[in-house]
Symmetry: C2
Subunit: 607 residues, 2 copies
């Protein structure tokens, strides 16, 4: 009978001992093997389970040591009575599954939020998941994290962190953050200027608890991080919605009446726009003039791909008015939940009291494990690795967007972050696109939740690279592009109804050689293409990471053909060409509008 309760799965990594142990304990605790019942001899059980007798003997010995079972001389192995000591017997309690009751009338602090998640629970089963902040498990530093964890869990270490009180943080972790993370952001801080939090959400929660009530006016970004707005509204704050331009949150007289500014300068949530240095200076100047507190949410500072990151506001702040929030790389943080706040020591002291009230300290075993992860250099190595992986994916996504959705979308000029904020064709409904895309295995992030003001654009969506392997990105974007074309088909300009004149072979021959074309990449930088008379071509893009490529072009069957060496995956592609004044328009083999270009340095008459 016992062998039917113990099923051994040899395909598992778990040792046989561990499996047998787990099943026996389960049986003893739930009462399948009640107190006083006899277990089969090790010889018999080994035979039944087809394992070596030694294996069973070792399991039995551990369970005897732990008091689950006992060996009675000349009689056998029995389940002890201690096992059920200290437990309420089931008959003693009424032991019922209660019917649900209506408690709603008691709720004084219920949240209005529907708590809609931006992503289905089974996102990993979708072949193309462009949800930002979800990570494929390949990214987790398993081996290094295990090593750090084990170092934190020795008797000697436990003796150290178990001494800490409910208010304190692990001094080792504080020192590692001071020496290995903050210098990357140009920030210096002493131990009493840092508070460890259970992730950055808790950091923001504690800050709003301390600084915000219904007398306080707070400027937030629009679009912006919804969970922070929720916290602020929960505290009764009046919100001022501050627009974003290409250099970050706008600084204007709207801010003058605010007590607090909340901003995400590294990579603005959700647009990924990096606040420029001059905007940073402007913001700090305004805050100084009007005595405004700044909450800097330094989200994803590590994923700056083009050029060096800008220093944190906290590091530029001369009068100690910036409360800085950040966390470990989200990959680690999403499970381990370690974030931190850097601020003036008296602010940290108050936050520490609040943290004690609402939770005590973030788990100390994790604090120490993260400290070791940092001190062993695994964190820095890991950051380099993530940077490489995400940069590669980020470029692949950018390239794919540019090829499959030219002249149709716009991402703005971004330098990093792990997500693209995409503005599609005017007629596109982002929410509808999201639903349809999910049906064909593509997850994109809805963006409605980032807006508060009612007149927000509906043709936006968001594509992230944290959860999708590099080799899936092109395929995913190509399918998504196809879907977007289907959805906006009726509004698209087509070859048949395009304004202007279709060029035939002769006309192409007359117009194209020695022409310079200018167009715009979807990510907001210009691209110049030179078509030489000899069939060669050269291209150069603008922006911080301007690129060069060369290729060849030719005319055939009334179409312009071209093949780049690197760009466009080096594939041959042909276009119908329509001229409309100085503007040239390309249409693909399916007569679908592709791209609009301007002729520059063009000294021939249009025929």
């Amino acid at each position: 009978m016992i062998s039917r309760l113990i099923h051994i799965d040899t395909s598992l990594n778990d040792s046989l001992q561990s499996q047998i142990r787990q099943k026996l304990v389960e049986g003893i605790i739930v009462g399948s093997f009640p107190s006083g019942s006899k277990l089969p001899s090790s010889r018999k059980l080994a035979k039944q389970l087809e394992v070596s007798r030694n294996t069973v003997v070792l399991v039995y010995q551990t369970l005897i040591d732990e008091g689950y079972i006992e060996s009675r001389e000349r009689s056998g192995i029995y389940v002890t009575s201690q096992v059920h000591q200290g437990k309420v017997s089931i008959t003693q309690a009424s032991n019922h599954l209660l019917k649900p009751t209506d408690n709603n009338y008691r709720f004084k602090g219920a949240l209005a939020t529907t708590n809609a998640t931006s992503c289905p629970a089974n996102w990993q089963n979708f072949p193309y998941s462009f949800i930002d902040g979800k990570f494929d498990s390949s990214l987790y530093p398993v081996k290094e994290w295990r090593e750090a964890t084990n170092k934190a869990n020795t008797t000697r270490e436990i003796y150290q962190w178990a001494q800490l009180q409910g208010k304190e943080d692990d001094p080792m972790l504080l020192d590692e953050i001071r020496s290995k993370i903050l210098p990357r952001r140009g920030i210096e801080a002493s131990r009493d200027e840092i508070l460890i939090t259970a992730g950055s959400q808790q950091a923001l929660f504690l800050i709003t608890q301390l600084f915000v009530n219904n007398s306080v006016k707070v400027a937030v970004e629009e679009p912006g991080y919804p969970e922070m707005r929720e916290l602020l509204l929960h505290q009764g704050a009046e919100l001022v919605y501050q627009p974003i331009d290409v250099t970050g949150m706008e600084v204007n007289e709207q801010l003058d009446s605010c007590d607090i500014i909340y901003t995400t300068p590294s990579h603005q949530t959700p647009t990924s726009i990096t606040m420029s240095m001059s905007r940073r200076d402007e913001l700090l100047k305004k805050a100084h003039q009007q005595d405004i507190l700044i909450i800097e949410d330094d989200f994803e500072f590590e994923s700056n791909f083009l050029g060096q990151p800008h220093p944190a506001l906290r590091s530029l702040d001369k009068d100690n008015r910036v409360v800085y929030v950040s966390c470990l790389s989200k990959v680690l943080a999403s499970g381990v939940q370690i974030g931190f706040i850097v601020a003036d020591a008296n602010v940290i002291a108050e936050l520490r009291k609040l943290r004690k009230l609402v939770m005590r300290n973030p788990p100390l075993n994790n604090q120490r494990a993260v400290a070791y992860f940092l001190s062993l250099g695994y964190y820095d190595a890991y950051m380099m690795h993530l940077h490489k992986v995400f940069f590669e994916r980020w470029l692949t996504l950018r390239e794919a967007l540019n090829i499959y959705l030219p002249n149709c979308i716009d991402t703005g000029p971004i330098q990093g972050g792990t997500a693209y904020w995409v503005t599609g064709p005017e007629q596109l409904n982002g929410e509808y696109l999201r639903e349809k895309a999910a049906e064909i295995g593509i997850l994109i992030e809805p963006v409605k939740r980032y807006f508060t003001t009612p007149e927000h654009p509906e043709n936006c969506f968001r594509l992230g690279v944290t959860g999708i392997p590099n080799d899936k990105i092109r395929e995913g974007v190509s399918k998504l592009a196809e879907l977007i074309h289907q959805l906006t088909n009726e509004f698209e300009e087509k070859l048949s109804n395009a304004k202007g004149k279709l060029l035939n072979n002769d006309a192409l021959q007359q117009v194209l050689p020695d022409v310079q074309l200018e167009c715009q990449m979807v990510y907001g930088v210009p691209c110049t293409i030179n078509l030489l008379a000899n069939g060669e071509m050269f291209g150069i893009t603008g922006g911080k990471d301007h690129e060069l490529d060369s290729g060849r072009w030719w005319i055939k069957d009334g179409m312009y053909y071209r093949q780049w060496n690197l760009w466009g995956y080096g594939e041959i592609k042909g276009f119908y060409v329509i001229m409309d004044g100085d503007e040239m328009k390309w249409f693909d083999q399916n007569h679908r509008f592709v791209r609009q270009l301007e002729l520059k340095g063009y000294n021939k008459l249009v025929p």
Copy 2:
């Protein structure tokens, strides 16, 4: 030069590789070895550090793999430039240590609490630490916890828990709690009736956020758990202070006007009194009649030493009005911070939303590790072990109190818990005692913070057994007793000023043989002693765990001597005896009052 930066400590458990790695990484990150600098060859470094070359080669190889250093052919090992990529250069940021500023005028939610801790940070250095809830590190299940942690941190497991969203809990942990912890309390619950929290403090915080605002009246125990009162007051609640008697929180008409009752029935905080079954029924009946919500804080349910524990209120509740809070054994929980709430599914759903807002979910790596700790049966084995250890200490403390502080203190009739609530002589100032005790290495817990009403007794203190090894308890209590005698000396009855008549040899000979004496143990149960004419004696105590002992007695030099076989550590002790009517009083060799007894079944005239 590099060898001066790398100091190898062979006394550490850390491998040489690990130590060299840690120091090299440190040097690279902080800039002691800047980008592009050359490191010594493995041969040279090995020689300098006096380690095998292989060790250095292995460290170098890992650092090359991770991108810290690179090997340039025919040239050597260099620090890479990637290392400092993505970092703000120190000169770029203004990089200053800011002067503290006065932010107090901005604080809207600052806590009034002084946040005084009940215990000095270095409590483990005190030879006698009677602070409850502090654990000596010997109690931590190091090996088992490491195994559980490693199981939770395999790639396959991470893949599972990394899929969970910010609202969700680990289903494995939910099931383990349902099957291995709740049945001990007679509670059944489905997954959606359980919320995992970051310790029980967070559980209480979330509950007060949901149910309490300034329109709500809450009954709390007095004395009671201060952190809960603080949470309730923070939410604006009106508090009703409910007294405690020997069967727990009193149930009276004061409760009728309350919306919520907060109670700690298993072992009342701080008195350790267990609520009786009839009181539980009374409380539930009252709650039903008046439609009151009950918050049951099931603290230390596992440490019931005398008899079976009572079922939780939640398990007796017929109309789903109990919100149940508990956590893992505090030993584990203090570092790992896992608690849980069991309540109606719609309550849990609301709490889950709040938890998401304030923190997301408790660290998922810990959730899974605890799930394994439970599923492998380590938790139950560990509970059995703790029960044994604490029970032993608890009995030792009780015995010591009874011997060293008879007739001087009172702990009330308690059945378990890990702390004794001690009421000392009327004139004792508990706070002063605490200060003086700390000076001689004894830590006791001050109790002022458990009271809110101003007319609280000052002669109370609290002794816990979680942080003191069994073999230190007797010594600690003996020293503490000496101190208490010193402090209350002037108020104590002494042989010289005692009311009544001192018995000499002859009088003792007349009074003592065949007499039955009754006295009270400090823990509130009676003790009967029979002195037989033949010099034998027998003793029996009352209470749930009544005990028997025998011994011998004699008269010598005007004193009564006695020696128990087990009680009083089997030591010989002599007393002066004074008779005052029917009452007998004993004084020790130092003429200090020891104990008052009543003569029963005594049929001789007092001489």
